[in-house]
Assembly symmetry: C2
Homo-oligomer: 429 residues x 2
């Protein structure tokens, strides 16, 4: 975490707090506002951010830069030089499903430390939660078909792209085309070929043949460079030609009417006795187009790029990070139609007999509730204490949680009422 990846005002406010002795105990929380396309959210990036809080240091270069602005006292710069996060953090761990309005992260610390973290925590967490939550919608729409993340070129930056690969893998996707994500996180990598490859050879047949000879175990032919119908014939020809030598055989269609073309392709492949050839579809896919293809078309796998790299239905997640309690009590906020219910919170989940989520109860930290705690302590007195923060565990948490989400919550079109209740103490205390 870059300590200066923050808004100037976080530090000028902190300077004033220090001067006026307003640095008592304070609790901040991050939560996400409701949106009709984000009824169900998936935690992602939260554990890494919590860990990074504990490692946050302002180095001499940072201090010199801040001094050069002429806005900070030496006393405050000294405070920053000694900055060590020594509070507690509760988080809903990566991979878990949660809902709008529930705190995904609760930071219990001093006012200055909590304030300083605002911008950097939102930056590190919100985008990843948005990616993972979008990925859940697509995972739901794909109904078990394989999903491949192809968004590296559309990413906002190198690590933004890697984080998208990671978020989609958490949300049940099979893998990514992004080799850096494969290297850093061990995410399975997949790929086919580009139109430029087909154009490089004199004929489509030659292009497919050359590729199949090099990659007999993963020969997926891109059939829409010139004419898709002719491309399907070429693929059939090459597959029949090399039949015994090819292990995985497939075609990919990246443009046109994917429903019609995929149905045609399946029919044609069956006629040719090639029932085992997989059909991969790509090209501006989102959850709605995938739902339609699953209903009416033929697909074994989908490749999705832009729409998960930067989701166009909700490019910026409405995440907020707010002061919710201090020594003076709960900090409610009702202005501007944006309600913040005060109080240092915990979240408890209850299930029905079939293992489906019945309701979540958001309560004050002083209250005891039964149910499964969603917010778990990940930082204790400045030390990172959560152990299952590998990617595999996050994906397992997602798969378990996904199967517990009531079907009606997975509505892709409308905002739904999710059963999140606030304890009487939070509402009236």
């Amino acid at each position: 975490m870059r300590p200066l990846l923050t808004d100037l005002y976080e530090l000028t406010m902190a300077e004033v707090y220090l001067r006026s002795g307003m640095d008592g105990w304070a609790v901040f929380e991050m939560n996400v506002r409701p949106h009709r396309y984000r009824n169900v959210l998936v935690s992602a990036g939260v554990l890494a951010a919590a860990k990074e809080i504990t490692e946050l240091r302002f180095d001499e270069e940072d201090i010199s830069y801040l001094r050069s602005l002429g806005k900070f006292s030496e006393e405050f710069l000294e405070y920053l030089r000694g900055f060590r996060f020594d509070g507690d953090v509760y988080a809903i761990p990566d991979g878990r499903v949660f809902f709008p309005g529930e705190p995904v992260m609760v930071v219990e610390t001093s006012r200055i430390k909590g304030q300083i973290l605002e911008t950097m925590l939102l930056n590190r967490v919100a985008y990843q939660v948005n990616s993972a939550s979008k990925a859940l919608r697509i995972y739901h729409a794909a109904k078990g078909r394989m999903l491949l993340e192809f968004g590296a070129r559309r990413g906002a930056d190198e690590m933004a792209a890697v984080n998208v690969s990671r978020a989609t893998y958490i949300a049940g996707w099979a893998g990514t085309s992004n080799l850096e994500a494969g290297k850093l996180y061990g995410i399975p990598v997949y790929g086919t070929m580009a139109h430029a490859f087909v154009q490089t050879y004199r004929t489509e047949f030659e292009a497919f043949l050359e590729f199949a000879k090099a990659y007999p175990e993963s020969a997926i032919f891109l059939v829409d460079t010139y004419d898709t119908f002719a491309g399907i014939e070429t693929a059939v020809e090459v597959i029949l030609h090399l039949r015994d030598k090819l292990k995985l055989k497939g075609i990919r269609i990246d443009s046109g009417d994917l429903v019609e073309l995929s149905r045609y392709a399946r029919r044609r492949l069956k006629e040719a006795g090639l029932e085992d050839v997989v059909i991969v579809l790509s090209g501006d896919l989102n959850e709605w187009r995938i739902r339609d293809i699953v209903d009416r078309g033929e697909a074994d796998a989908f490749g999705v790029g832009s729409e998960v790299a930067i989701p166009s239905d909700k490019p910026v997640l409405g995440a907020i990070y707010k002061l919710v309690e201090d020594e003076a009590g709960f900090k409610h906020k009702f202005s501007k139609g944006k309600v913040v219910i005060g109080g240092a919170k915990r979240v408890y989940r209850f299930y029905d007999g079939r293992g489906k989520i019945l309701r979540d109860v958001v309560a004050h930290r002083s209250e005891s509730y039964g149910g499964e705690p969603l917010l778990v302590q990940v930082v204790k007195g400045g030390e990172y204490v959560f152990e299952e923060d590998d990617l595999k565990s996050a994906r397992e948490r997602f798969l378990r949680d996904f199967s517990s989400v009531p079907e009606e919550y997975l509505n892709l079109d409308e905002e739904v009422d999710v059963a999140v209740e606030f304890s009487p103490k939070l509402k009236f205390g």
Copy 2:
């Protein structure tokens, strides 16, 4: 540039090219497809990307990871180990205005090297061009009012956020709240206060007073934490109270009907004899809302966050990187309604007598045209040769170019015909 920030298929295709001896001279270009909200584009991130190409190396960790995939020959891994970009790159330098369809980058190299760069170049450049181009629209709408970039918390990642600060500064904005961008690039930093600050003190009056005492040279009071009308009164009170001690005095309104509230605020400030108090507006602003406020409201400065961090009108720029010429000739492509005109290109700009852009001519590299060359050589035989790649120069190029853009190109609502002509040789050669 992370060498593995690429799609697997770039490397599997390269493996096949190497095996089948298809590694001759080849030219690739990046350009942007037309879109009604991106009629005028601003180059950003292009120079850094070009420089990074020359420094791109695959280290032993990368090679080991690739070997572990079982998809690459030792011969190819050896090729990657020795990878040094030794070709030429032409680019439209950061800050320059260009148009859809024009190559913003031309890479003249071998087929394998050009192919390997595809994903990473699109990742490094497209998002930044989108940010800068969105920033231009907002700059146009603001008609000279000060623009502040407040998007750090909405950024897709740390460096993505810094790149947005950089892109907006290039496009004429006054500065950013992002301290990391200030530190790394010397961009002026700005900030006011948050609602949490006002809530921290017993009264709004006390909050404003404490802040003003610490920051008499930049006291901008956020007036909408509780009731905006009352907040304006409090600000007036504090300013009158400290009048002689305050240098820059201002109020910020972050919610509600900004047109009505800003008009009320200006009236009230005038009544109180405070003509010199600046009004800063923020809260989900975009070019259309700013245009409306400039027309009907009162504002000296605007703070913009989400809409420039991740523009919702066009979250993913339609940038492509394509093979356009090889030893066999031009590579045109007409499929799918996405035309690629082949040929290794250069771009020449012509102006009218008033210094406005008359037309750009895109020609083949073998052709001589008059006019101002837009694509300049930035890498020569693998060496980075462009000198004016500091941020200040980029901003100056923008300001100069912006004043040369015909007014009708700056339409915020519709796709316009921009005068980009392709030479007969490109079209028919």
